[in-house]
Amino acid sequence: MMNLVQSRKSDRQSRSQGQRFMSGLIRSNRCRVGHLTVDRRQSRIDRTSVVTLVLACSLASSLTAAAFAATKEYRYTVGPHANVSVDTQYGAISIRPGSDNQVVVTAVFKSDNVEVDQQQNGNRIDIASHLLHGTDQPTGQVDYELLIPPDATVNLHSMTGPLSAERLHGDLTLEGAEAVVNVRDVENGHVHVRTMRGPVTLINVRNGHVEISSISGDVHLKSVTGTSVQASTGSGKIFYDGDFSSGGDYTFITHSGDIEALVPADVSADFRAHSVLGRVQHDFPLKPQHSRFSEEVGRSFVGSAGQASSEVVLRSFSGKIRLKQR
């Protein structure tokens, strides 16, 4: 936001400086245009020509300033449960709650090699960065800041990120290759995240349907609960700090990454953990339970705690799995 304000101030300052310069040019008796020195008292150029020249210069200056404007703002009026989609190749996208019936999108450009394609169809708003030919990452970056109704459904895509969303209760989909993804203080919605190697952090996500897929990114979940919470990553690690509540299904899967779950003593869940080649351990007592899965010491454990209201499955091929009491 500070960058946005500074950019606007900078625009206003440059324009007022240009106007002062042009005023001075008109008032002065001598001025220089290109290689030609004009003396108003001696020149045959009449006053009309000078005014025309000055107006042309002023117009060119304004157009140039507009072309390199670093910030653009778009506003849309929407109804309940709007659908907002932002797709950019390079750049950050952050999204926060604003008013109930308005979407405000602020785009900060790094160059004029990118255009923003935007359209509203009823309650649906699509924003996309359009890279012009030959644009690379430094010049193709556009950072977006959005203020949206809290109940809106949101789709965010950025290859580089970061992507962040907070204090919303609509469905969220965030996807990025290398993007760092941060979601916090979200409830009652679906949260779907996909990254290639960007780390994913969810904090205080309540009563949601959470689905996270990453190829090598770490996944951090703190106080995340819901009817279905699934996280899978290949070589990344999964760390969960919470109580596995809501009577949900929690499934965490890695290939070679470790899985660590930190739970309170009064946790209520059925646990099943298995690592094909890695070590598995837990440091608090679990009640044995009948299961079709045979327990292999050091490689798996099965048991329940409390009323076993939720089901927790921890699976890894070669990573370590550890269930710890907070």
Partner: protein
């Protein structure tokens, strides 16, 4: 009978070995336990389908002739013992037709021959053992073992028939899934095989759309392929491990995710 009893006895059950009383208890349990019933039907289906793989991927008889010649050269076969012309490469599917009495000496002989070959031709043999087949670095789930597939494909190539060293390499490759003690990720990831045509096409598309991201995607692709190979190798050695099979599917899903992230979103 409990679910764990069924799981423990599953190999014998699939071979048809248990006695009548056990079979009755087993059948009763299956009727009352849909999970075990599903598990058994899945495994029977896999076993049946795998038989077709065994038949279709048999290597050329020339491979066995050359192995026999190599064993004779080493003095491991003294008499003109009948070497079966077309033995299968899939040990799990040997069933009672072969039996352990035949597998053990042949395996021992192959190990001895392989050891000799490896010790006399260290570089190519080691590479051959560590490197999964270049034609299919990421075999599909349920397919025959990668090394066995490689062995089956070798006779079709003229080069594989040409020299004794390649026969030796073939021997080593045949040994890999049967006798090598569980090569882990470090070994599997140490040597990256030639990318498959699909992967080449994928990387080419990434290069066209976003040249600066190619290296990143290539690294990720190699990592995912290594995970697939590692899991596939484990499944080949432990075909009854349901969890490992699930991890193999997960690894393929990771690869699909990589393709999707790259090709859906790069402009």
């Amino acid at each position: 009978m409990t679910c764990s009893d069924v799981e423990r006895m599953l190999p014998e059950i699939l071979d048809g070995a248990p006695d009548g009383a056990f079979q009755t208890a087993f059948d009763l349990h299956l009727k009352s336990c849909p999970e075990c019933s599903d598990l058994v039907s899945d495994l029977k289906l896999i076993t049946n389908e795998a038989q077709y793989l065994a038949a279709s991927d048999e290597p050329s008889p020339r491979v066995w002739v050359r192995i026999e010649a190599q064993l004779r050269a080493e003095g491991l076969i003294r008499e003109a013992q009948p070497v079966r012309p077309r033995p299968t490469l899939v040990p799990a599917l040997l069933g009672r037709r072969w039996g352990a009495w035949l597998v053990a000496p042949v395996a021992a002989a192959l190990v001895a021959a392989g050891s000799y070959v490896v010790s006399h031709r260290p570089a190519p043999s080691v590479v051959q053992q560590q490197t999964p087949p270049s034609a299919s670095p990421a075999p599909s789930p349920g397919s025959q073992s990668s090394a066995a597939t490689e062995a089956a494909s070798l006779p079709a190539t003229p080069a594989s028939d040409a020299t004794a060293s390649e026969t030796a390499s073939t021997t080593a490759a045949v040994l890999a899934p049967v006798q090598q003690p569980a090569p882990r990720a470090a070994g599997a990831k140490a040597v990256e095989p030639v990318p498959s045509p699909e992967d080449e096409q994928f990387l080419s598309a990434v290069s066209t759309r976003a040249p600066s991201l190619r290296a990143t995607y290539e690294n990720q692709l190699q990592a995912v392929n290594a995970d697939i190979r590692e899991t596939q190798a484990y499944v080949d050695r432990n075909p009854g491990d349901i969890d490992a099979r699930q991890h193999l599917m997960d690894a393929y899903q990771q690869k699909a995710l990589l393709y999707q992230i790259a090709l859906d979103r790069i402009q």
